[in-house]
């Protein structure tokens, strides 16, 4: 199910059109995840990659379902998306005209994965997402900045009440990692698996009080904890009004 699709080489058209959602390079490097992985991956190294500068927008997703009609909401099999899939659109090929540049939401993991593969890309792993999201406009790892931490926790992710890309980009040129929508990582289902296996007596560490503290290497990074608690609850066909995605790919 999660096998790699054929990687269509993207003939990169350099365009400054408003619609372009460009990829920006991230160098990778040593990175401490706020999430505790059983295999010690929380103190690993992230390999360089490219990431979309903005979450995928409704107008982009519309273009996708126009050319890949099996992903229209009236044709998609129930196996690949729940009933909420694109249910906020006016019709299967008509998002609200006023929200074309908002991040697309109510998309399942399967649909997000298909979109990225159709664009010669893939969903970012959690670690890649977290690596990018650790940066602010001035530094690559701003997670110790108490004010920023406070801000990120407060803005939460209420869900796409503005167009993608309107917030200040981080040092890599990536927008909206905080405060707009939750985003699908490639490995949402496995996020807590390592911690589960290691702590046999706390089988589902996020699901109730006591165990959850064990799952995080930084127990004060509540913005991450909130996000992970949500992501780990998703099944691949889930859709939410405040859950979107962006794509990643290898460095050229």
């Amino acid at each position: 199910m999660k096998g790699k699709g054929s990687w269509i080489p993207l003939l990169c058209v350099l365009s400054t059109a408003v619609l372009a959602n460009e990829y920006v390079p991230l160098p990778g490097g040593p990175f401490h995840s706020s999430l505790r992985f059983g295999n010690g991956g929380d103190k690993g190294v992230v390999a360089g990659y490219q990431l979309m500068s903005k979450p995928v927008r409704e107008v982009e997703f519309l273009a996708f379902v126009e050319t890949h009609p099996q992903w229209r909401r009236d044709r998609i099999p129930g196996l690949f998306a729940d009933a909420g899939y694109l249910s906020h659109w006016e019709s299967p090929l008509a998002p609200h005209p006023g929200t074309l540049n908002f991040p697309v939401t109510r998309v399942s993991w399967f649909a997000a994965d298909a979109y990225c593969r159709a664009r010669g890309a893939r969903l970012p792993t959690w670690l890649e997402w977290e690596f990018a999201a650790a940066a602010d406009a001035h530094q690559t790892d701003a997670r110790d900045d108490a004010d920023r931490r406070r801000r990120i926790l407060t803005v939460g992710t209420p869900g796409a009440h503005r167009a993608a890309g309107e917030s200040e980009p981080n040092v890599y040129g990536v927008h909206d990692l905080h405060g707009l929508v939750w985003e699908w990582p490639w490995d949402h289902a496995g996020m807590m698996a390592a911690a589960d296996n290691r702590n046999v007596d706390t089988e589902s560490p996020l699901r109730y009080c006591g165990g959850s503290a064990l799952a995080f290497s930084d127990r004060r990074d509540y913005a991450v904890i909130k996000r992970v608690a949500l992501l780990s609850a998703l099944s691949a066909r889930t859709t939410l009004f405040n859950l979107g995605f962006r794509c990643a790919k290898e460095l050229p």
Binding site: R207, I225, L240
Partner: protein, 331 residues
């Protein structure tokens, strides 16, 4: 709902089925008159919404049933409870419920991991009578509780509770805001203050003044009053006291034993107590956390307003006020 069992439904336990009547604080559902167990269906919706925390101050509360504390649930020992938990579509995170009345993994929490726009269901049998706290247990659990996700569930003993004239639902909670106490506007949650256990507000029933003015609890002199008192925390332990009353009975920790003639009872975070007393004389009786700075400076104050005839043989009110000559002391 009626409990019609036709005898054909052999696979189902032959229990009468009823829908639980839930109430918003400070109200409590009526006592259970049934003499046997039932299957009780509870429908509870989790709602995130901005509400008043104090005058001119609002907060983005996370709630069970749209109120802080959440809806009061009343069942009977031996009941089988089919619990339906919904998370409203506009919630931005997942929630669940851990009921301290449940015997089973996570108190129901592992069975009710509920995404926005989703619903979950589980069933438990109420084995132990008592007054129990329920709360959300999603990570980060402290934040979910600090935002108001707690309430009370009463499991009446088989023989029921002795009848009283008034029952009320009061629950204390501590709140942590970025701004100081009284700073106006929508106040964000302060993680630092929560971790340091330095609340900005300590209140009864979700906001400063919830139990004063129009919201004051009422009774008539001579009424038997039962308060179901909970403490959601997340951090503080409450020294619950009613100024001018003595609790005739306190079912401490929400359990089956009672202590008599109690002035102040300790209610742990995530715990509860039933207190009973008879209002002898009229007046305003003040509910406080006797860790008293919380009352004076942080909001832990409610009023029980009692109507009725003065009884000077019990309490006269002021009989004299005046100066006394300095020499009178004869020093």
């Amino acid at each position: 709902m009626n409990g019609c069992t036709t005898g054909k439904a052999t696979a189902e336990a032959p229990l009468p089925v009823e829908q639980a009547q839930l109430t918003a604080p400070p109200l409590v559902p009526p006592p259970i008159s049934r003499k046997g167990p039932a299957k009780v269906v509870v429908d509870l919706e989790m709602v995130e919404q901005e509400m008043r925390l104090s005058d001119g101050v609002t907060y983005e509360f996370w709630t069970f049933g749209g109120t802080v504390p959440g809806s009061f649930i009343r069942i009977r020992e031996g009941d089988t409870v089919e619990f339906h938990l919904k998370n409203r579509h506009d919630s931005h995170v997942a929630h669940n419920i851990d009921l301290h009345a449940v015997t089973g993994t996570g108190g129901g929490a592992e069975a009710t991991f509920t995404l926005p726009g989703h619903k979950t269901q589980f069933t438990f049998q109420a084995l132990n009578p008592g007054l129990y706290v329920y709360h959300c247990a999603m990570a980060p659990v402290g934040m979910h509780i600090a935002n108001g996700m707690y309430g009370l569930i009463l499991v009446e003993p088989e023989e029921g509770l002795p009848p009283v004239d008034r029952e009320y639902y009061v629950m204390q909670g501590d709140f942590y805001t970025e701004g100081d106490h009284g700073a106006p506007g929508l106040q964000p949650f302060s993680l630092e203050k929560a971790v340091d256990e330095h609340p900005t507000y300590v209140v009864f029933n979700g906001s400063e003044g919830a139990l004063t003015g129009e919201g004051a609890l009422t009774a008539n002199a001579g009424d038997k009053v039962r308060l179901f008192v909970g403490n959601g925390g997340p951090n503080l332990v409450s020294s619950f006291h009613v100024i001018g009353e003595i609790f005739d009975r306190v079912f401490y920790e929400g359990g089956s034993k009672y202590q008599e003639n109690v002035q102040t009872t300790l209610i742990p975070a995530g715990g509860a107590a039933m207190v009973e007393f008879t209002t002898e004389v009229p007046g305003n009786f003040i509910l406080v956390d006797h860790s008293i700075f919380r009352t004076f400076n942080k909001g832990a104050l409610g009023i029980l307003s009692v109507d009725g005839e003065m009884k000077p043989e019990i309490y006269t009110g002021q009989q004299f006020s005046g100066e006394y000559p300095e020499a009178e002391g004869g020093r």
